[in-house]
């Protein structure tokens, strides 16, 4: 016998998601799960028949959280179609005719977008489910924080505002700075803009320094619990981010700080990434598309709710037919930073085998990888607070941790700022409409892999496809549904009944508007309680 638990809407996520769980009455564990997106907007047809450059200012509005990511992915697709950027045959490196300043400027804006998004997700959205990581108790000796609202007002809201202000200096406003255009970044790095940006990042860093060690210590103290929840498929995908113009010869053959690759469980070494191997299956989605189609060149399917098995607007992307997990954990496994973090822990605590805690991913691994990424981006000046693992002191501060991982102490954001040539051009005006061409924009957003593909005919957009991170993770039959299997659901009538479910769901940092730009969700009757 099973009982049904329906959570609709799932609150504190971007977009509309519902969950329907079947829970075994004897074992009290989830035996089947359906995650559904319940909003369809249809961006891929809205951009048709327009100037290719007009796509980005429209597609940035796929998501009100990772706006810079969609905008830049679209600009990159158009630049690829126009012959301004190109990928090596194995997609491992890039070359571009946009100036080095623009490459670094885009890294900065994207990285800042990830930074604020991780702050908001870890602290404001997921935080309540994780008992606010014990932050109230940790901060009370020095700050007047008696509740969540105080934490929001004194730390979370200002920290993310400073980062958004930094983006605003380069794009006019957030959300949706639309300044970046094919050919580069029109905003030149003047000394004034650079120093104002540096000041904002420093202000955000000062706030995160007060918070992140406590978050880290909470997660690692609960590693055994959280590591046993939310096992993923073990297949990871990354479409690469942050090209490094100082590698190789300037903007030719640029290496990527976060490489592209696909890990096929049980292997841990990534294979090269090839966008041609991605298909989208709509057999469980509300579209009229009889068979899976390659996403590159796919014809946008027509919405159709008549299929009896279908329950979501999200499609199901697969790589070589495989279910893949996307996000900070996936890219840190592919870049090697996360296993390296495991080695640091192993040195300090020989009993620890390493990371990932669960080779196929877990709630612990996802949250820790996201917190690690936030630290790497914003940096730290904190040499005092001691980090712990499993409740044991590591004799490592956040600064020590960055040093031992070979990451810049002042953070990646500031390193890109430092790399810019002040007052030098960051825009190449040679863009011309390619007339007839195709282009692909590959990248990573805060929540995972992002692909934009454009076909230009007679100088207009003839076809456009977007594949967003949450479409991988919340796809029907995908990583989220799989990770929920086996999750215990209590019957005590308290908040703790659904807490393990919340741990799992939050760890994926879902963004449903992205997934069904195309997604938001549909579900049903029980609120996802947070503690």
């Amino acid at each position: 016998m099973t009982r049904s638990v329906i959570i609709d809407p799932v609150t504190r996520i971007e977009g509309k998601l519902s969950l329907e769980l079947s829970v075994d009455e004897t074992s009290n564990a989830v035996v089947s799960a359906k995650a559904a997106g319940s909003l369809f907007r249809g961006f891929e047809t809205i951009v048709l028949n327009r100037d290719p450059r007009d796509a980005a200012p429209i597609l940035s509005a796929i998501c009100g959280v990772c706006y810079c990511d969609h905008h830049i992915a679209s600009v990159r697709a158009v630049e690829n179609a126009a012959g301004m950027t190109d990928y090596s045959a194995d997609y491992s490196t890039e070359q571009t005719s946009i100036p080095m300043n623009a490459v670094l400027g885009r890294n900065l804006v994207l990285g800042a977008d990830w930074t604020y998004s991780h702050m908001v997700h870890i602290l404001a959205l997921a935080g309540p489910d994780y008992h606010l990581y014990g932050l109230l108790d940790a901060l009370k000796p020095n700050y007047a924080v008696s509740g969540y609202a105080d934490l929001l007002r004194q730390f979370i809201i200002p920290a993310q505002q400073y980062i958004n202000q930094a983006i605003t200096l380069w794009g006019g406003k957030t959300p949706h700075p639309r300044a970046i255009v094919p050919g580069g970044n029109p905003v030149r790095p003047t000394p004034d803009v650079v120093e104002q940006t540096r000041a904002r990042i420093a202000q955000a860093r000062a706030l995160t320094d007060q918070i992140l060690p406590t978050v880290w210590n909470y997660l690692t103290a609960n590693a055994t619990l959280l590591g046993g929840l939310g096992q993923g498929p073990g297949n990871f995908i990354s479409m690469g981010a942050f090209p490094d113009p100082t590698s190789a010869d300037g903007t030719s053959n640029m290496q990527l700080l976060i490489p592209r690759g696909v890990v096929r469980y049980p292997n841990t070494t990534p294979d090269p990434f090839d966008p041609g191997r991605i298909t989208e299956d709509t057999s469980l989605s509300w579209y009229n598309q009889p068979t899976p189609e390659a996403v590159v060149g796919e014809q946008t399917p027509v919405p159709d709710m008549s299929g009896s098995q279908a329950y979501t607007w999200a499609k199901a992307p697969r790589y070589d037919g495989m279910i893949c997990e996307s996000g900070p954990l996936a890219r840190e496994c592919i870049s090697g930073i996360y296993p390296k973090l495991g080695q640091v822990l192993h040195v300090a605590m020989p009993d620890v085998a390493g990371l990932p805690f669960n080779a196929r991913g877990s709630a612990f691994d996802r949250m820790t990888a996201e917190a690690m990424e936030l630290l790497a981006l914003v940096g730290s000046a904190n040499t005092i607070q001691n980090l712990e693992f499993l409740g044991e002191p590591l004799n490592l501060s956040p600064v020590d941790l960055l040093n031992s991982l070979g990451l810049p102490q002042a953070g990646l954001l500031e390193s890109w700022l430092d790399g810019m040539k002040v007052d030098q051009p960051s825009y190449n005006p040679s863009y011309r409409n390619p007339g007839n061409a195709e282009g692909i924009g590959l990248g990573e957003a805060p929540r995972g892999s992002l692909l934009h593909w454009i076909s230009v005919k007679n100088s207009k957009v003839a076809n456009y496809q977007v594949l967003a991170p949450t479409t991988w993770n919340a796809s029907p039959g995908g990583p989220l549904e799989g990770a929920l299997l086996g999750t215990p659901v209590g019957q005590t009538g308290t908040d703790d009944d659904l807490r393990p479910t919340a741990y799992v769901v939050r760890s994926f940092n879902l963004c449903m508007a992205c997934a069904v730009h195309a997604i938001d969700a549909r579900g049903n009757d029980r609120y996802l309680r947070m503690g």
Partner: protein
Amino acid sequence: MGVGAVVTLYSSEIKRVISQVAEQGAGKIHLIWLTLASETGCTISMLQASNPDLIEAVETLGISVDFWKALMTPDYDLGWVSAGYTREDLSQVPLDNAAFGSAPVDVLVVEGAPQLGTPAGGNPGDFCTVGKFNGNTVTGYEILQRLAAKATYVIALGQCSSFGGIPAARGNVTGAVSVTQALKTAAVATKKPVINIPGCPANPDWTLVTLATVLQGFDPDLDELGRPKAFFSSYVHDNCPRRDAYDRGEMAKTFDDPVGCFWDLGCKGPITQSSCANTKWNSGTSFCTQAGPMCWGCMQPNFPDPPTSGFFSPVEQTPTIVGVTVDDVGELAIGGTAGILAVHAIRRSLRKEDSETSGEKASQAPEQAEEAKS
């Protein structure tokens, strides 16, 4: 303090207005934040409000935020308990109580466009559903009708709810329209005119001032498009940092031109009404034509369709809308836009004459030449 004073307010004075509301000691204001076809950008934008920030405003204004899916947290009450929310309740209970029960709704904020279309094999409005109520799946369009009829004030927040925005743009298949149009189609009367605060996203500081105005018991002074006149009376072009360059006839040739006016490269400042240049964004940090390069027209009624796009075509070269089905709002907008274009055409011809007499010549950008060829 009357609405007239609000008209002249800029961000440094927002806090004062809001504390004046607090001094009046109004009771709890019940607010429902309904999300339809949107991307949560207007919610994220509210997190960027400063002086006061969002939490301070909610607490100072005495707002009970009974439902706000993206931010609601029952354990740390921002009003949910007063809406009948208890720890054992379901997530949509406050929304259910407001839409189908007797819970009061003083202010309804709508983020996103209502979608009236019918997917193949589905029912009208099925492109967006908001949950199950009494066993039935309810569409965003239906719950909007129920809440709007009940609310004292309806605020259509952001471009999608004010004018349809991107979800309602050319090529959409979901029947997305503005809140005003949806309510007109459904023959739902609101107690007061819908307040439109357009923009992609809506500016959080303008939103809080408008809210404060409402909570003082004043009806905001709205223009013919339902926008508070306080924030939508002037054109971006009028107060642009590069306005001097325009007046001197110095036109930018490339997007990274440090001085020139971006009219020829497609700036929509000349046809876009907003206070962006006055209040700026993100705590007064910057705005589109200050950071560069240009205004994208994201607050104009037809965004992202003509005349705001092609985004890279000068406004005078943008084709006029002919044969496009538009609602009343759209018709007004076209009329208004045509008038503005005429005004600027006059100003521009004067400028050109000036340039010619002084021997200068506005040069044509490569992008523009490219457009002319295609």
